[in-house]
């Protein structure tokens, strides 16, 4: 049986006061943020728009139930994430990196120039595209959406410990140094 997860969010948070009553209203309100979220997951606006539209169709089919949930936003984010995870599962995913592999390491013994920073972000973006999808989703949810481990666990339907595992492996693959994974969520708040 699935372990019962403690509800991780504060009941006094602003989202708790918001109660969507109409699917159209909800969808129009959430489309920009969902599309940007999906863009971070899929690496492409075009794919993201496709993913979000499919996810909203599924949301519409279950709207009566979803609209009664405490956090419909997290639930819909879960649907978007599932859609992304399901993309082309049987076929090869053709991800074209923006830059070739970087074989050598430049140590940070001086401040990077603007060009270097920009190039590294492009390189980082390309490396993100090669991560396992769960790992990429965790990083997007943490560092772009600013969710806590427990909230990410709800979106991915797994345990917070699993979230930390995915996140740590993904960070290691990107060679991002982080003293304590748990602190980053607090930094964001």
């Amino acid at each position: 049986m699935q372990a019962v997860m403690e509800r991780p969010y504060s009941l006094s948070s602003p989202t708790q006061d918001w109660r969507p009553v109409d699917f159209e209203e909800f969808a129009a309100d959430r489309l920009p943020s969902l599309t940007r979220y999906a863009t971070m997951l899929a690496g492409s606006r075009e794919v993201a728009e496709d993913v979000v539209q499919d996810a909203l169709v599924k949301t519409h089919a279950k709207w009566k139930k979803i609209s009664t949930l405490d956090r419909p936003d997290l639930y819909v984010k879960r649907i978007v994430t599932n859609e992304f995870m399901s993309l082309r599962r049987r076929r090869k995913v053709s991800t074209v990196p923006l830059e070739p592999e970087f074989a050598e390491v430049v140590h940070a013994d001086r401040a990077p120039s603007h060009e270097e920073t920009s190039a590294d972000r492009d390189a980082l973006w390309a490396e993100l595209a090669r991560l396992p999808r769960q790992g990429r989703a965790v990083l997007v949810l943490r560092f772009y959406e600013g969710l806590s481990d427990n909230e990410i666990a709800i979106v991915l339907n797994c345990r917070p410990g699993t979230v930390r595992g995915y996140g740590s492996r993904a960070l290691a693959a990107l060679r991002i140094e982080l003293a304590d994974w748990r602190l980053t969520a607090e930094e964001d708040r």
Binding site: W63, L128, R133, L178
Partner: protein, 370 residues
Amino acid sequence: MTRPRFPRDPQDLRGAFREHEGPAVDVAGLMSGVRHRIDRRRQRRRTAGIVAVGIVTALAAGLPIVVSSIPDQNSGIAGGSSQPAPTATASAPAQDQPLDRDALGSTQFGFTVAERPSDYTSENASTGPGWQLLRLFVPDSVQPNRTLDVRLFDPVLAGLPAPEPTGETVTVDSASAGQLTVQVISLSQEGQSYPGVGWLTGNGLWLTVTSDGPADLARKEALAVAAQVDLEHPYPLTFPFQVGYVPDGFDLVGGGTSSPLPGGSTYLRFHDLSPLFVESESALTIRVTNQPGIPEDAVVNTTVGQYEATITGDGYLSIYNVEGFLIDISVRPDFVDRIDDEQLRQIGVRILVIPGAATDGTIWTDQPLG
């Protein structure tokens, strides 16, 4: 070439995300697309299985069948080809009594329709938690995809809206129940209302017959089909395969058959029945499609036993050309941490396919769990 500086820090990641947010989102355009897809989905759900040719009838009592397993050379789970094939005995329907409400969600079907409408061409049968659906295709020149849905369900268990009676009742001559009084209803499905008739059965379930045709025709057809519904003789759906293993914590919640032969597809769905799950979509689906060979777009990267297969690493295993069938085992993405690749293989190697079932639907089994 400019090279990245290592180690990076989280600010680099945040920066990379921000730089790739893209232009402003076209809300109006996307909403239009969403509405269009909702309409298309409704249409697709009605047209699914239009080429189906009818559900397999029940097996002859006691007819023994031999099923072949898939010995796995990679995992060493189910023994090699020298082992004798497991045997399953197909049996006649286990009961001939009205379906108990607890059986909703199994692959027992709780009703039959004694006589199909004259313009009927094909049908699908499917079951899920708290519901059973027989979809009859009755095309005409105006609506080539017109359907009549016969449902037996518990609105609470199924998470479906209860039928809405109009207040009008009609008495029909039932083929199995004598004079039967039915209510004229409308039934909401995915935001649309469908006219029809319905009544509460003896065990508190709703039996509804609805149509997506014009209102006057829908009423006439629904009344005709309602008169043919027989709740006294449940029957089992049949399958060309048996499942020998699923991981702990997952239960059979339903199955279906879109057509027997050829090109038909049958499936079983499993789910974790924890009350935390509000989704109706199942965690694990095993679909067996009458499709020989290997699909052109398949990327074969492993074998399961002697059969070529694709395993994606994220909850999807396809095994090709098993006695003329394609086996797809899929795990919903949010369950892949509970059903890993090794377990997928275990599920795969313990599926038993009935030899000859690709061409002979009469030897399918009504006991899909081996």
